[in-house]
Amino acid sequence: MAFVNLQNVTYKYPLTKTPVLQNINLQVNEGEFVAVMGPNGAGKSTLCYALAGFVPHFFKGEISGSIEVDGKKSSESTLDEWVLNVGLAFQNPFNQISGAKYTVFEEIAFGLENIGVPREEMKDRVDEAMSLTGISDLADRSPYSLSGGQQQRVALTSILVMRPRLLVLDEPTSQMDPIGTREVFGVVRKMAEEGMTVVMVEHKVEWIAHFADRVIALKEGRVFLEGKPNDVLTSDLLVENGFGISRYTSAAREAKKQGLWKKDKLPVTLFEAAEGFKP
């Protein structure tokens, strides 16, 4: 049995006319790193909320189908129990700050205080999580005074420190520079290697190709394509349907038309492109 199991999930917000998620079937194995991509309004954030229990426990609306994580059904659980297993870092980092803490260290400890972790263990875990995501030097800063990218790292750390079994990340690198993005992907990969299951909404296709195990492309609330990163990210269907693709893929596709690209597979990353163009 898959660790995450969504069956025929259809969901409509109280105010939307048509369903935002339509017949979603999704299975994710334990320790797998799945990337989700799709145009604006495709329902990516809604999918994250559904995995994390906020749909339907927080947002109400009409839902059908079943959402299971680790053999437990979301509909039969309560939100406060569900979040212990499923950690969510959502899109806007600024509003993820608890608003009750004055330093980054305290901010990250907030979740551990709530679930009753003893003080000494709490400090150790916060230290460890901060060094993992590379923000140890921000410990005494006010969470409000950080840059967008730094806030995103704090948001990610605040969830990682709680050690969820399933980690759901909604565009966690949207405000980060290339180095930050790379580091976050590295950390996420490492967590997956250690057995954490990860579902991450992301647009940066080259990094997805490099780090993720599988890609899901959402469009208008449906799973549009699904498969190995290279297969999905080089599919002709992506360009035709307004998804962002890697410039190396575009270049190689052009090159292929002119007979310059000889391989079957198109590249997504710089490395694959360089390999393929080698004479």
Binding site: Q96, I97, I115
Partner: protein, 259 residues
């Protein structure tokens, strides 16, 4: 953006080492005795003697003085003038200025009230200066105050400066689109109306997201919460709390008995 969003000053002093609840009781005792006392001079003694001594004990004398001069005294002065001139008591006019009359009674009345306000605001200021907000929150929830309540108190303390900063941003943005935010009173008051929408609507969306954020971090979890900071609670605290509670009860009792 401002780096410091709380009033709290990290120092080591007898006040800092008190339990937050003890300090809250102290604030309450000061305020109640200033307001309920049958003796005219109590608020004055509290404002001029007790409060400054407390600020020195808390080693926040300088910060307190600066707040007092910038904020508390101007507000109290304004209140004093309003009441001295407009409170209709007493007959014998000791000072007149066009249509404004001041009597000895209204002067005394206004002075007493202004001092009460000084005591109240000052007591809170010293409390905020010497109390770490997270400690306050943890302590109160540990004592059974529902977490939501504690959260509302604490986040309000934090969010006020933010709302202020955001209003400023919106004003600048609107001004760059030609909105008048300077000029006469009515012009400016009118100019505020377009600010309300973004501020309120923005805040509502933010409240929803923030609720998700704290929920995602186990805020409503049924576990017994722990706290990162060790919260002081010594025999001195227990003694002081008894003492202050007695004092509060006494001032309420005295007031009831005399009325």
């Amino acid at each position: 953006m401002r780096e410091r969003l709380s009033f709290h000053i990290k120092r080591d002093s007898a006040l800092h080492r008190l339990n937050p609840l003890t300090k809250l009781l102290l604030v309450l005792a000061l305020i109640l005795s200033a307001f309920l006392t049958p003796f005219y001079w109590t608020p004055h003694i509290l404002a001029i003697l007790v409060i400054p001594i407390l600020s020195v004990i808390g080693r926040v004398g300088r910060e307190y003085l600066s707040t007092a001069f910038r904020l508390i005294l101007p507000a109290a002065t304004f209140l004093f003038l309003m009441q001295a001139f407009f409170h209709p008591i007493g007959k014998e006019i000791i000072f007149a200025f066009y249509f404004l009359d001041m009597t000895l009674e209204s002067l005394m009345f206004a002075f007493g009230n202004a001092m009460r306000i000084v005591v109240m605001v000052s007591a809170f200021t010293i409390f905020l200066l010497t109390t770490h907000p997270s400690e306050l929150m943890s302590d109160l929830s540990r004592r059974g105050l529902p977490g939501q309540f504690a959260y509302v108190i604490i986040s309000t303390l934090q969010i006020l400066p933010q709302v202020q900063a955001k209003a400023q941003t919106i004003i600048s943005a609107q001004r760059s689109r030609g909105l008048e935010t300077e000029g006469g009173f009515f012009k400016r008051a009118g100019a505020l109306i377009p600010l309300i929408g973004p501020l309120v609507f923005g805040s509502l969306v933010e409240v929803e997201e923030r609720a998700i954020a704290i929920e995602a971090r186990g805020f409503t979890s049924k576990h017994v919460k722990t706290s990162l900071h060790e919260i002081p609670d010594t025999p001195t605290d227990i003694f002081l709390r008894w003492f202050l509670t007695t004092l509060i009860a006494a001032s309420i009792g005295l007031k009831l008995w005399l009325s």
